[in-house]
């Protein structure tokens, strides 16, 4: 979805105008989860809540599957998806593990291991 001038970055989805249009309903639903009452309403009756926000079939399938990459493909923005993830009891390591196909422990270890690279050691030294 990057503009023509920019070459794609592997594993990276730029949230641009096309994504923002495509994802509007899904992101609007997620934005509503700033309110505890709305989070409760989603938990009580997920199907009715999703109907209210008129999610697209692709967005409905992604939410039903709890699949973050599918939600992103359907226009979801991670800052908004994080609010849905909170309801589902998932933190950003859980999201990272799911998206990278790693176990949560392996994903966390991958994060920790990045402190051990020569570049990281140099940056930590200042």
């Amino acid at each position: 979805m990057a503009s023509a001038a920019n070459k794609p970055i592997p594993g990276t989805h730029i949230f641009d105008g096309a994504a923002a249009q495509k994802g509007y309903a899904l992101n609007a639903m997620c934005y509503s989860f700033n309110s505890a009452a709305n989070r409760d309403a989603f938990v009580r009756d997920e199907a009715a809540y999703i109907d209210k926000f008129q999610l697209t079939p692709e967005q409905r399938a992604a939410v039903a599957a709890r699949n973050v990459l599918q939600m992103i493909a359907a226009g979801g923005n991670v800052y908004f998806l994080a609010k849905l993830a909170g309801i589902l009891g998932l933190n950003v390591q859980d999201l990272g593990a799911q998206q990278t196909g790693m176990s949560v422990d392996a994903f966390k270890q991958m994060l920790l291991d990045q402190a051990k690279t020569p570049a990281a050691r140099e940056a930590i030294r200042g």
């Binding site: 509007y24 990459l69 800052y79 990045q114």
Partner: protein
């Protein structure tokens, strides 16, 4: 006459707020990050700033995609930190400084920045956590002017534009006739990516480049396009735009006083820096204690 004394630059990862609220600061995972703050607080104790100009990005609390300003300036007497949906309790937010907000707004528009103004504004974790780190356990004893930069929905403003915005804010501060001591905060980053198959990406080399140049040559940070910054620092690493703008507001010269870099906090390469200007109180105390920490 108002004085711009310097700036505090920090990551604003939500999990930091969780650690504060759980009292986890001394746990092994968290200690290296929280250890960055005693020297910052010593500097603040010496400097006693009256106002914080807060450069940050909103993450879907005040702004949804229905209206997404590239740059927005708060001009409210009070600001609220609210429920963002994933469990952090709101932190206390100090009052606004509306006269200074409007002076900044006047100057920015005069300088041809077409900003949005907000007289009713919720500020999210990107403002509340940095304040809670700098002044723990209480409402920060300052008044604030929040300035948000869109780092959510592309196209984002370029680093060059963000630096220019900050410099225009700096002009407004230099012209402000009030007696306040003013500091800036720039929050977010450093490298991290929450979304996509590249989730978990960090880049210590690029982060070091940003930290090394922030005080002495901020224009160096404008050589990369936003797309290149995403590639180098991750989809959310572009939040360094907030740091670049805040640096611009400090004027031509700023001296690096403290620096802490730590991997990881949550999915993020975390950093904390203090830069001070020549207008800072030259006590020598904070700097002489802080410099060994940098070595």
């Amino acid at each position: 006459m108002a004085k711009v004394i310097g700036g505090v630059f920090t990551s604003h990862v939500p999990a930091i707020g969780g650690a504060i609220q759980r009292g986890a600061q001394n746990e092994p995972y968290w200690k290296p990050f929280f250890d960055a703050w005693p020297p910052v607080r010593e500097w603040l104790d010496v400097q006693q700033p009256d106002v914080v100009i807060m450069f940050y990005n909103d993450h879907g609390l005040n702004f949804f995609l229905d209206k997404m300003p590239t740059f927005a300036v708060g001009a409210a007497p009070v600001y609220r930190n609210e429920d963002e949906g994933w469990g952090l309790h709101p932190f206390p937010i100090p009052p606004g400084h509306t006269d200074l907000s409007w002076a900044i707004i006047e100057k920015l528009v005069e300088e041809e920045f077409d900003i949005t103004t907000c007289q009713d504004m919720a500020v999210d974790h990107a403002a509340s956590i940095p304040l809670a780190l700098a002044w723990p356990g209480r409402e920060a004893p300052v008044r604030i002017v929040p300035i948000t930069i869109n780092t959510v929905q592309h196209p984002l403003p370029s680093a060059k534009r963000c630096l220019a915005l900050g410099r225009a804010v700096g002009k407004a501060l230099a012209e402000w006739q009030g007696p306040e001591k003013i500091m800036v905060m720039g929050t977010g980053g450093l490298s991290h990516q929450l979304d996509g198959e590249r989730a978990g990406f960090m880049n210590a080399e690029y982060d070091k480049f940003c930290m090394d140049n922030l005080s002495s040559d901020p224009d160096a940070l404008t050589r990369h396009s936003v797309h290149e910054m995403v590639e180098l620092s991750g989809t959310q690493g572009v939040e360094v735009l907030n740091w670049i703008a805040a640096r611009g507001a400090l004027g031509a010269t700023a001296r690096e006083l403290t620096r802490t870099y730590h991997i990881p906090i949550s999915n993020t390469a975390a950093a904390v820096m203090v830069l001070e200007t020549e207008a800072a109180v030259q006590s020598g105390k904070a700097s002489s204690e802080a410099i060994p920490a940098m070595a």
